[in-house]
Amino acid sequence: MPEAVQLNQGSNKPFVIPGKPFAAEDEAALREALKRCSPSTFEAAVQFRKTGNPEHLPAVVIGVIERFVEPDLRMKLKDADDDLRLIEDLGIDSLTMMEIVILVEDVLQMSINNDELRNLRTVGDVKTFIDCKVRGLALPKPTKFLPIEQIAAIMPIQPPFLFLNEASVSSNGANGKYKITGQEFFLQGHFKDNPVMPASIMLEALGQLAVLYLLEGAATEPGKVISPNTIFFTGCEGVRAHRVCRPGDILTLSIKPKRMKMPLATFEGAIRVGQEKAAIAEEITMTFGFADAVAQPVPVNGATTKLNGENGAHAPTPFRAAVNT
């Protein structure tokens, strides 16, 4: 994705509050533009336009997305986490994404390039993207989606001790899912005639997600990569289990980096089952080490060939308007 990152930065100017104050006619135009959005969306947009405070952005962006989502899918957005996918979960196609972009541009008075849209797969991506645009920050690496095959190809940990079925990794953290099948070998003895996922294994699963983050999402020094053979568990703090998890439960795991300084990386982690909290770890710490990066072949014409899961697995290429003329 190097070419996309460069393009992004070129167009990524900080938001500037226009010289003239937000006038009554601006408010009227804004009201008209957002007439099919919720009142709170309009209010957030007004506050943003008046103050330039980026805290109002998520409400504006989510409100605009909501307006273009079919009514029967809007409930998903109500209690969405940042992992909600635009195409797969919300049914937004590339043309609808253009409509969203045009309205966001209009309301926030910014312009967004086609190239910048390519990597927006989730609601969280969109929020982060707009936030970076407005603050004038470099855009983060795009979220990568990794199915089990790719996870297994990357990880030093292998079945039957790998507790991730799928994962998404961005520079802000990682999310994953694991379904307790009931076939796990340790459930035969944990407990007798009463299979319960061991809390220690749930902590292990969070640790595995942190390993995946270190290998796929963490920033490294130029020319270096984190070596899979150097990552080991060192400690954890504030681990609490809240819910008994059994075969059939789908664990939704998330980790976020708290501190990272060679050779230690500390994460916070949480596991949910549906909306229920299952376990948390205030801190999980690992050691890691660097190895020299091996140069990878560069595709001709900068085509976005997938190398080592660089662009996610086989998810649909998002938001290039495929247009027949």
Partner: protein, 420 residues
């Protein structure tokens, strides 16, 4: 050569939004004219139009539009449509139901769709204005698809999952007759088994008023007098919009599905004036040749024709030109067919005209009537000798002819026959 039949019809027109209403209006000569509100300004000399009822499509934002409760159209479908796309979509729903077609009958490699419309000047104007004021990247992503000529088939082909032939026809007021003619050819040639033929127009201010510049529109302020084809005092046409869909099928498909057709499409003919970009040939040479070609191609003698649905739009030059062509074809005064222009009730639908009036012919043949030519108080002496019927006849036409003439001097004549 396989025979071809009309097995389904759908109507959104100024005289009715389904076949039943349309038939009643044609029989009782109920017109669709009104003092069209957008025209009621001092600077607009044109006052009368024949808008479609039951739809509100006067906003540039399709989510503001409303349509009769029996239709439900999703936003993602609506966003690529012009007003006439919605009319055609609704007419298509009717036609599919009317012909008793299953989803598999509609969506297969042997079923195609030919369509005609003039595009949407209204949405095109809006989009260009937006582009000039807000910049090129702020135009609606589907603005082009909704506004250019071809928008009807883009939408219907995609949303009804048409897999066979599809394209659009652009010969102005002859367009949807060309669509019907070439659809017939595809069926006869064995390329398709079933064809949808669609004609549609916005029929709003931006679609109609540009014709004022060429002095083609009636300036009459009385809705009862504005459209009066063949009357000596006619002064131009009255604009209308809508959408009409016809289902054409080969005899094998008719037999396989066991449906009762409205009538047979016997064939068609076309010819051009080679005369003027916008004015009919004064002697009607092109239209006369088109009728001759249609009669010859279908093996029909002029004396066999019972009814002619004339193109006559109520313009001084056009009606006269057609009258001369009709006299040249139907030479024996005693054997002249009943002639009427149903534009005296609907107004002129431009690209919609051929499909709409072919649909009227199908209704007339099935239901056994010939609609009268309304609003004639004094027949133009030049039309004397033609059997222009001023009231509806309760007689079944055995063979009916539908004429259209378009810009550039394009003329098409279609022949329909009672199913024996």
């Amino acid at each position: 050569m396989p025979r071809v039949f009309i097995t389904g019809l759908g109507f959104i027109t100024s005289i009715g939004n389904d076949a039943t209403q349309v038939t009643q209006s044609l029989r009782e000569l109920r017109h669709g004219f009104e003092l069209y509100p957008p025209f009621q300004k001092p600077e607009i000399p044109v006052k009368v139009a024949a808008p479609v009822r039951g739809f509100a499509t006067d906003s540039t934002d399709c989510e503001d539009w409303s349509f009769p409760a029996r239709y439900s159209i999703k936003r993602e479908v609506l966003r690529g449509m012009a007003p006439h796309g919605v009319y055609a979509w609704c007419a298509m729903q009717q036609a599919v139901e009317d012909a008793k077609l299953s989803e598999a009958d509609v969506s297969n490699a042997q079923t195609g769709l030919y369509a005609a419309s003039g595009g949407s000047p209204y949405l095109m104007g809006h989009m260009l204005q937006r582009m000039h004021t807000l910049g090129v990247m702020r135009c609606s992503p589907l603005g082009i698809v909704a506004s250019i000529s071809g928008t009807v088939q883009f939408n219907l082909v995609a949303h009804f999952k048409i897999k066979g032939s599809s394209c659009g026809f652009a010969s102005a007021c002859a367009s949807s007759s060309h669509a019907l003619g070439f659809a017939y050819d595809d069926l006869v040639l064995g390329r398709q088994k079933r064809m949808f033929v669609v004609g549609a127009e916005d029929g709003n201010m931006d679609a109609i008023l540009p014709f004022a510049g060429m002095r083609a529109l009636s300036l009459q302020a009385d809705p009862n007098l504005a459209s009066r084809p063949f009357d000596v005092a006619r002064d131009g046409f009255v604009g209308t919009g809508g959408g009409v869909v016809l289902v054409l099928e080969t005899e094998d498909e008719v037999a396989r599905r066991g449906v009762k057709p409205y009538c047979e499409v016997l064939g068609w003919g076309q010819a051009s004036d080679g005369h003027n970009v916008a004015i009919s040939h004064p002697e009607g040479t092109g239209l006369r040749a088109a009728m001759e070609n249609a009669l010859r191609a279908t093996g029909t003698a002029a004396e066999e024709v019972d009814y002619v649905n004339a193109h006559a739009t109520s313009t001084p030059i056009g009606d006269l030109s057609e009258a001369k062509a009709l006299k040249a074809i139907f030479k024996t005064p005693a054997a002249r067919p009943a002639i009427s222009s149903t534009k005296s009730l609907t107004g002129h639908g431009l690209s919609l005209a051929g499909a709409m009036e072919s649909g009227f012919c199908a209704l007339a043949i099935r239901d056994g009537f010939m609609p009268g030519s309304a609003h004639i108080s004094k027949l133009d002496p030049e039309c004397e000798g033609l059997n222009i019927i001023r009231s509806t006849l309760s007689a079944q036409p055995h063979i009916a002819l539908n004429n259209v003439s378009g810009f550039g001097g394009a003329n098409v004549s279609l022949v329909f026959k009672q199913t024996s």
